[in-house]
């Protein structure tokens, strides 16, 4: 055989396997959608922007220069003010958020899955609510609860109004409330990931230790915690980058981070702001490399053996009710109170005006925020119609649904295919590359990804600014990891023999996927669709630079929050929460999958 025939045969053999085709095509596409925005933003750091500091430093209004790098890194005052202080705050926020979310989510996961805690079903369902809500709404609730005239120099929040309690400044503004709010928001991640392992964990190891009379604390630290280490690492992986890229929470709670600094610098130091975005991206890449290093070096713990279906549950005794009660109270404040507070806010005559609570007089309540059908500027309506008649809100709701459904379908499908193809070719370097490049955007801070897409797609050749196309591209690229991780984990559990049996029967690939593989791993795959949908519904940091405020619901919500029109933003929050709950219920009824059952299979 001639060398060309051999090569042709190799190519033919290569393309005869659908997973090779999938890996090749998606590898190329994802390389473009991930790398091109990064190149665009790097270019922006050396571009001269009219009317900004690089233009002033170079004396030019266009062209390229290293002035931004020189100014940001070598000017002592500039570096301290715009780089080092925000960077330090960002790192503290990201680490703190990881700690809070893992501790809170992990402990609750343990209590729900490994003990005989009372009211587990209720706690499990209610615990994910903070993740459903846009993250900054918890920040607004925090302000409404703890602000006081004495400490924050504002009007009194609920605690100060009703009980005269003035919380200290560090509690009300800055790092602590920011990491608490983000920690609570991301605790469901830890709960889902760690809970998944707890739920499936082989009890034999712990039982063996118990038989050997090992103290309970030792079992916990030597057996249980090492087994959940992969889930903790996964949580760190997911939460660190998300916290780093969060704009609204530190913005509302007065913490100077790279994200808030990016927005603040954009008017006069646009090029230097892009350098901050690059720094955030570098952290994303570094986390991914660290994760890959840990994957190579760490011990593997098999959690699903098929030998034991029993999970030993710790008997809490009388504590099962006491701890449950504490959790019910805690989750009331993180999950129920915000919703009640949103609903109440929509009936206040002025934003934050709690006159009704002091007086009990119903005339201090109003339905104007819902029922005003005319365009009026009086009484704080600012030319807006009530929520029920407000076309801006409902049009944005339609845009949000369109974006979320499209992102979920695309990200879910692409992620599933990646998971399938990578699992089938797990020893291939190209498969590892595709897996990494698909996961990279998730590790990059949302605001940095948003900036990159804004720069890439707002030029004279390709201008997608303020289009659903752009939002769907950005959302899909960002959320593929939800589906690819979920799909990969479940596909790895699936023996190759199942598909091989179908191949012997000469069943086409598409039929094998639709009739065999997807139905077996239905639950995990549906999670891969549901999570992008839910995340996309209330995404702000990623989309805020890509469209105008009335385009989707989250930017509309942010606009009303910024304006102080909390009745409108609260109403939108209620709409979002209701939408997610309805979607979750429908999916649960139809497929049996559910959000609190988790990602990662």
């Amino acid at each position: 055989m001639s060398p060309s025939s051999i090569a042709r045969n190799r190519v033919r053999t290569f393309f005869s396997k659908p997973y090779n085709v999938i890996l090749l095509v998606l590898g190329i596409v994802l390389t473009f959608t991930t790398v091109a925005p990064i190149i665009a933003i790097v270019q922006d750091t050396i571009k001269i922007h009219p009317g900004t500091v690089d233009s002033n430093l170079t004396g030019q209004s266009s062209g390229y220069s290293l002035a931004n790098y020189i100014d940001l890194f070598t000017n002592r005052f500039v570096a301290r003010r715009f780089l080092w202080t925000p960077l330090w705050n960002t790192l503290l926020l990201s680490v703190g958020t990881c700690v809070v979310s893992i501790l809170f989510g992990g402990i609750v996961a343990f209590l729900v899955t490994r003990t005989n805690l009372a009211w587990r079903q209720y706690i499990s369902s209610i615990f994910i609510f903070p993740y459903i809500m846009p993250q900054w709404t918890l920040a607004v609730v925090w302000q409404n609860l703890f602000n006081s005239n004495t400490i924050t120099g504002t009007s009194n929040g609920l605690l100060a109004s009703l009980f005269g309690v003035n919380m200290p400044l560090w509690w009300c503004k800055g790092l602590f409330p920011s990491l608490m709010v983000l920690g609570l928001h991301y605790a469901p991640f830890a709960y889902i990931l760690i809970g998944g392992i707890f739920r499936n964990m082989d009890a034999n190891l712990e039982e063996a230790a118990t038989i050997l009379d090992t103290p309970k604390w030792k079992i916990m630290f030597r057996i249980t915690l090492p087994m959940i280490k992969p889930a903790i690492l996964s949580t760190v992986l997911l939460v660190f980058g998300s916290a780093m890229g969060s704009y609204p929470v530190p913005h509302y709670l007065g913490l100077d981070t790279l994200s808030t600094q990016y927005i603040a610098m954009n008017s006069s130091r646009a090029g230097e702001a892009s350098i901050l975005a690059i720094i955030m991206m570098i952290f994303g890449v570094a986390i991914m490399l660290l994760n890959q290093f840990s994957l190579k070096s760490r011990k593997n713990y098999t959690t699903v053996t098929g030998k034991s279906g029993q999970i030993s549950k710790l008997n809490l005794g009388a504590g099962k009710y006491i701890i449950a009660l504490i959790l019910v109270i805690l989750t009331f404040f993180t999950s129920i109170f915000p919703i009640v507070s949103f609903a109440f806010e929509t009936f206040l005559p002025n934003p934050g005006d709690y006159s009704f609570l002091y007086t009990g007089d119903p005339s201090n309540l109003t339905t104007k925020w819902w029922a005003t059908s005319e365009n009026v500027t009086e009484n704080g309506m600012y030319g807006q119609k009530g929520i029920l008649y407000n076309q801006t809100i409902w049009r944005a709701f339609g845009g949000t649904l369109l974006t979320s459904v499209a992102c979920a379908l695309l990200a879910g499908t692409i992620g599933t295919l990646i998971g399938y193809a990578v699992a089938r070719q797990r020893r291939s370097r190209w498969a590892a590359y595709v897996n990494s490049v698909a996961f990279l955007p998730y590790l990059m801070p949302s605001i940095a990804v948003g900036v990159a897409f804004f720069i890439l797609f707002s030029n004279k050749y390709l201008n997608l600014y303020n289009s659903y196309t752009l939002l769907i591209i950005a959302g899909t690229v960002k959320y593929i990891p939800f589906a690819s991780r979920s799909s990969l984990n479940s596909m790895l559990q699936l023996s190759g023999e199942i598909e091989e049996a179908a191949i012997i029967q000469d069943i086409p690939w598409i039929k094998r996927m639709l009739r065999i593989i997807i139905p077996i791993q239905k639950s995990s795959i549906i999670s891969g669709y549901l999570l992008p949908f839910m995340t996309c519904l209330r995404e702000l940091s990623l989309f805020m630079l890509l469209c105008v405020q009335g385009f989707i619901l989250s930017t509309t919500l942010d606009y009303f929050d910024e304006m102080g029109l909390y009745a409108f933003s609260s109403g939108i929050n209620l709409i979002l929460i209701l939408t997610i709950l309805i979607a979750n219920t429908i999916v649960n009824k139809v497929t049996g999958a559910s959000l609190d059952k988790g990602i990662g299979g």
Partner: protein
Amino acid sequence: MKKILALLLALVLSLSLLAGCGGTAAQGSSSTPGETQGQSAPAGGSAAAGSTDTAAAAPAAETKNLSKTQQIIAEAQTMSLEELAKKAIEESNGATFYGVGNSSRGKSALPLFIEYLQTIDPGYTMEYEWQQPKNNKIFDQLTADSMKDVGTFAMTLIQDGNQIESKMVQTGILDTFIPKDWAEANGTTPEAVNSYLALQTLNKVFMYNCTGTKTYDNCWDFVAPGEHGLYMDIDSEIVGKNFLYMLTRDDYAAWLKSAFDALSDDEKANFQPTISAMERDASDLGLGPNGAYALAWIKLWVESYSAQTDDGPICNVLVDRSATDQFGLLVYSKLRSVEESASVSVNNIKVAAYEDGYTGIGGYGYCHYLFLTDNSPLPWTACAFIAYMTCTVDGFSAWGKDMGGYSSNPVVAQGTEDTYHHSVGGGDEFPAKNDRGYAWWTAEGQGELVLEDPAYCASVAFTVGSWIEMLDKFAG
């Protein structure tokens, strides 16, 4: 077959990723911009807010060098409002009009404009969308939109003369249109106007919660130790930074010096060390003899103000009875939004400058400017809308019906006062709402409003501006 299917599936998904399934919100397309980009603005592009300058009339640009929008503007500047309205009806009947602005009230003005057009053609209809971007994003939005051959936004109502000049006008993104009727009301012609077209001057004024005993009778009281005024973050609303720039101009620095001189010796002792420390910086920055007073006030303000997201929340806080002794610098007209309740009242606040014995600056005045986008999809309609807002009391009523906004058209300004009686609008019940008018607010020894001058702001943006950026903002 399976190979083809797999390939097709992957390709379709990949293509759909790129193509998406939604369209743009407007009729903007995404092709190469026309030849209009980068053209210099037509006559009228310099920076004296709302003023006219017949002596410095710029020669009309040659028609062949004008963009399509600029050609329409040149023609529109010779037309009356009614003639423009007819052109607008021809152009936009059944269309959707997109505007973007720093003021939310453009949304209220548009339906009035449509009603006006319907008085000429009862069958006329137009959908509209008004955007009010936050956090200085209006410049990013307009820049991104300018890349399109035909833009989304027909016009803008925009503030911050400094950024407008460097980012919008010099780059050819925005074009000035001067309505003939407006020019005549100001005793000039459109060609002779050498400035942006201002819709109005707005004032941000010092107000304080008066449910306690504390009073503020001098502008230096707002930067005294322990004070934390509520103010929109200067990095979020850049026009707030322009206020600080303006304080360094000789005349306003002199006002600060006069106010300082009126303080008691004890009070002076609080500020003198900071003023003395600023002498060298003032000299380095090339400021006038009272520059140190300006820099001291700016430094103390930046290091003490409590940053808020908008004037709305500031107003909400100050009118609450629990905000005892707090104060803020906020848009005066926000008082219109307050609904009286058991704990909220306009009478819970006082306007500092209205109080007897108050000395020093009473606030800050800045303009909302009107422009067409150079790739405006509805240029005639945009011209007519701009003329309607600047030349009629009804057109200005979205702003004019509340206190604190002063039309740049003297005829409209007088008509607005005759219609709405803002000078006595609050009556005895709500004295804080009795607007003393533009003349009072801007006079020395009365309101002492510091007025934005885009040219001055631009000249110090990278000297005083960089100095301000290095100050440590209050983190509380």
